[in-house]
């Protein structure tokens, strides 16, 4: 049954392949003959080794650098559980709610799969928001990592669209009325808004056609996100990771191989993340969700207040903080889209907030504004909540559109350390495993040259 497997000897016995096309295998001693045979034909073994084993990583990454890996874990969970949900789901207005109930009640282990999918969204957004604010704080978006940042913001936008489409699918009251809020927001665009909303949802009302579209969109975007993650990681591996000091790697003494140093560090983060995930799935499944979504969608009964899920609350608060519908749509979308411009809005050459005495408090305020907006989005836009939402919205845009361009010219940065491996102390021998060059894209910044 076994075909004639070609045994690849170092002497080049692969007579059926032209020798000139075979790059000399990068694999060092210790890899078996099958690995070498495969790697000569498809360099997955040496590629994996280069990108995930010996991959040189700044030696000073803190635990905030775990959150990219954590988001990947959450995404994998969502895609896997999502496939099982999809094969039991009915995307029709008449059948959607009952099919989700059936998943929860009658489908074997359906309740735990669905609970993981629901909690997984929250875990994904937690990881993404921490990851994004970490990048903002440490200036990870600055040259040479602008494209890396752009792919990341693109991912965030894709995830938001996917999460919204997914939330419509259970066809509960909040699903329906949440979709209605978005539909009305689109319809508020002057001139083309109303026809556009009807065209997008496939009719005057949100019904079967809209639900089919949201289902297809949700399913397809899940895999598109996976593709965008590949781009994001590819861009990361061109420039290498940033780091808390925000100065580039100058030599082998500044790096450690990804494995086993950062695989072991990520492992701690992943297990802690899974513990939080498990607590959410098994003990607090209703904590971050709206109970109203267990009431089937009813177009004739508007809930007294349409509440968003927590991960959309900051942007929902912006939407409702503006007296004009279209203005709310512009600012709400703008509050995310402004992130695309951040590498060009920030005029300071210094990366890390640690060395920027004015940017650092501004960054703390930005996180605070985000949390205030999150709280505002969970409350009716009236009284103190409306006032807070407006102040926080104002600061959000002030930070990006005024402070980022301005601070670069008025701020006096602190003195940057000479290098990552030798911030203060005299030179010392590099640890075992160090001594690999950073990728070509990672170059020292002019400012940091001594």
């Amino acid at each position: 049954m076994a075909g004639p497997v070609q045994d690849d000897r170092p002497s080049g016995a692969a007579s059926d392949l032209p020798a000139s096309d075979l790059a000399a295998s990068d694999l060092p001693q210790g890899y078996g003959s099958f690995s070498r045979w495969l790697d000569r034909r498809l360099p997955v073994v040496s590629g994996f080794r280069r990108e995930y084993v010996v991959y040189p990583t700044p030696r000073n990454l803190n635990y905030l650098w775990n959150f990219g890996a954590l988001a990947t874990v959450a995404l994998a969970t969502l895609i896997l559980t999502g496939i099982f949900l999809a094969i039991n789901y009915t995307p029709t207005a008449a059948g959607a709610f009952a099919s989700v109930e059936a998943i929860d009640r009658q489908v074997s282990s359906g309740w735990v799969i669905r609970s993981m999918h629901m909690a997984g969204v929250s875990m994904f957004f937690i990881a993404l928001y921490v990851h994004t604010f970490r990048s903002l704080y440490y200036g990870s978006y600055k040259a040479p990592r602008e494209v890396l940042w752009l792919t990341g913001v693109l991912l965030l936008v894709l995830v938001m669209i996917t999460a919204f489409a997914g939330y419509v699918l259970p066809w509960g009251q909040m699903s329906y009325w949440g979709a209605n809020v978005v539909s009305n927001a689109v319809a508020s665009i002057p001139g083309i808004g109303h026809p556009l909303a009807i065209w997008l949802q496939g009719g005057e009302t949100i019904g079967d056609a809209a639900l089919h579209r949201y289902y297809a969109l949700h399913f397809v975007l899940g895999f598109l996100i996976l593709g965008a993650v590949v781009l994001h990681v590819a861009a990361l591996h061109v420039t290498g990771s940033g780091n808390p000091l925000g100065i580039e790697v100058k030599g082998p003494q500044d790096t450690l191989p990804f494995h086993p140093y950062y695989t072991s560090k990520d492992a701690i983060g992943v297990v802690l993340f899974l513990i939080a995930f498990a607590i959410l799935v098994f003990y607090l499944p209703d904590w971050l969700t709206q109970p109203d979504n267990y009431v089937e969608a009813n177009p004739y009964s508007t809930p007294s207040d349409i509440t968003s899920e927590w991960y959309f609350a900051p942007f929902y608060a912006v939407l409702r903080a503006v007296p004009s519908k279209f203005g709310g749509l512009l600012l709400s979308a703008g509050s995310v889209l402004v992130l695309f411009a951040v590498p060009w809005l920030d005029t300071s050459p210094v990366h890390s907030a640690r060395f920027r005495p004015l940017f650092r408090p501004a960054m703390v305020l930005l996180v605070l504004a985000f949390l205030v907006l999150l709280a505002c989005g969970m409350h009716r836009p009236a009284g103190i909540w409306l006032a807070l939402a407006r102040i926080a919205t104002l600061y959000w845009f002030l930070h990006f559109l005024v402070l980022l361009p301005l601070l670069g010219s008025i701020e006096t940065p602190l003195k940057l350390p000479d290098s990552i491996g030798r911030p203060v102390l005299p030179p010392r021998p590099a640890p075992a495993g160090a001594g690999l060059a950073m990728p070509r894209g990672a170059v020292s910044q002019p400012l940091e040259k001594n």
Binding site: V112, S264, I268, Q290, Y294, D305
Partner: protein, 255 residues
């Protein structure tokens, strides 16, 4: 985060308009109560849940649906296959039409969903002073105040005070907004026959049927918590291991 549910549901219950202008009535606050299934280690009292099913099937089911449940789901209450089969067999459910287009009924099987009390919403409203009796599959989760509210509500019916005039078909209850609701007081002493000898007082029946509805709303509550313990024990051990691995790996690196 269970803010919105009750106004919606209670409004649905009390749709028939009241002459509200003259009334200055307010719902009484519900006395807090603990349940056996509260907390991270809570469990259902299955004897009470089973009695609650008796109350549901003999009283509530004449107006309220449990449309998401199948007869087979009842086996998780501790009923064996024969008991579930017998319960289902006693329920005629629609089975299509005969050659002349008339609806045919057949005995239900464990795979069937619980029989609906009304053929459609219009019929349900017509029979209930214009109000639609809500489906009870998730009621204990979605109603504001949860199980404690349900129990208080079921025992909160009073004779209408002389100073109060209710709309046609409405009944007086201490705990609903406006004190008027289309649902009548349904729990009367010994109205339900309990097979385990428990005395079927209105308070007992209210407690039991609330336990039942809480189970219906979260049938996997106990299994979820049991599985959670195992997962967390495993992950905690794994955390210990990866911490050791990380420390050993980084031992030679000065931070």
């Amino acid at each position: 985060m269970r803010r919105l549910a009750a106004p919606v549901l209670v409004a649905a219950l009390a749709t028939a308009s009241l002459p509200a202008a003259a009334q200055q009535l307010q719902a009484l606050p519900v006395t807090p109560q603990t349940w056996s299934f509260d907390g991270a280690t809570g469990r259902f009292d299955y004897a009470s849940v089973q009695r609650g099913y008796a109350v549901y099937s003999q009283v509530c089911a004449s107006c309220h649906s449990l449309r998401q449940m199948t007869y087979g789901d009842l086996s998780a209450l501790g009923l064996d296959a024969d008991q579930v089969h017998d319960i289902a067999a006693g329920q005629p459910v629609p089975a299509g039409t005969d050659a002349t287009g008339n609806v045919v009924l057949r005995a239900a099987t464990p795979a069937d969903h619980l029989r609906l009390p009304y053929p459609n919403d219009a019929a349900a409203r017509a029979a209930n002073a214009g109000a639609l009796p809500p489906d009870q599959s998730r009621l204990a989760t979605t109603i504001q105040g949860g199980p404690t509210f349900i129990q208080a509500y079921l025992t909160g019916f009073r004779d209408t005070p002389a100073t109060v005039t209710l709309g046609a078909g409405m009944h007086y209850n201490d705990y609903v907004p406006g004190n008027a609701i289309a649902m009548p007081d349904v729990l009367h002493d010994a109205h339900v026959k309990y097979t385990d000898g428990t005395r079927a007082t209105p308070a007992q029946m209210a407690h039991d049927v609330t336990s039942f509805l809480s189970w219906v709303a979260q049938p996997h509550l106990e299994e979820r918590r049991r599985l959670g313990v195992r997962v967390l024990v495993y992950l905690t051990l794994l955390l210990g291991l990866v911490v050791v691995v990380k420390r050993r790996t980084w031992a030679g690196v000065r931070s």
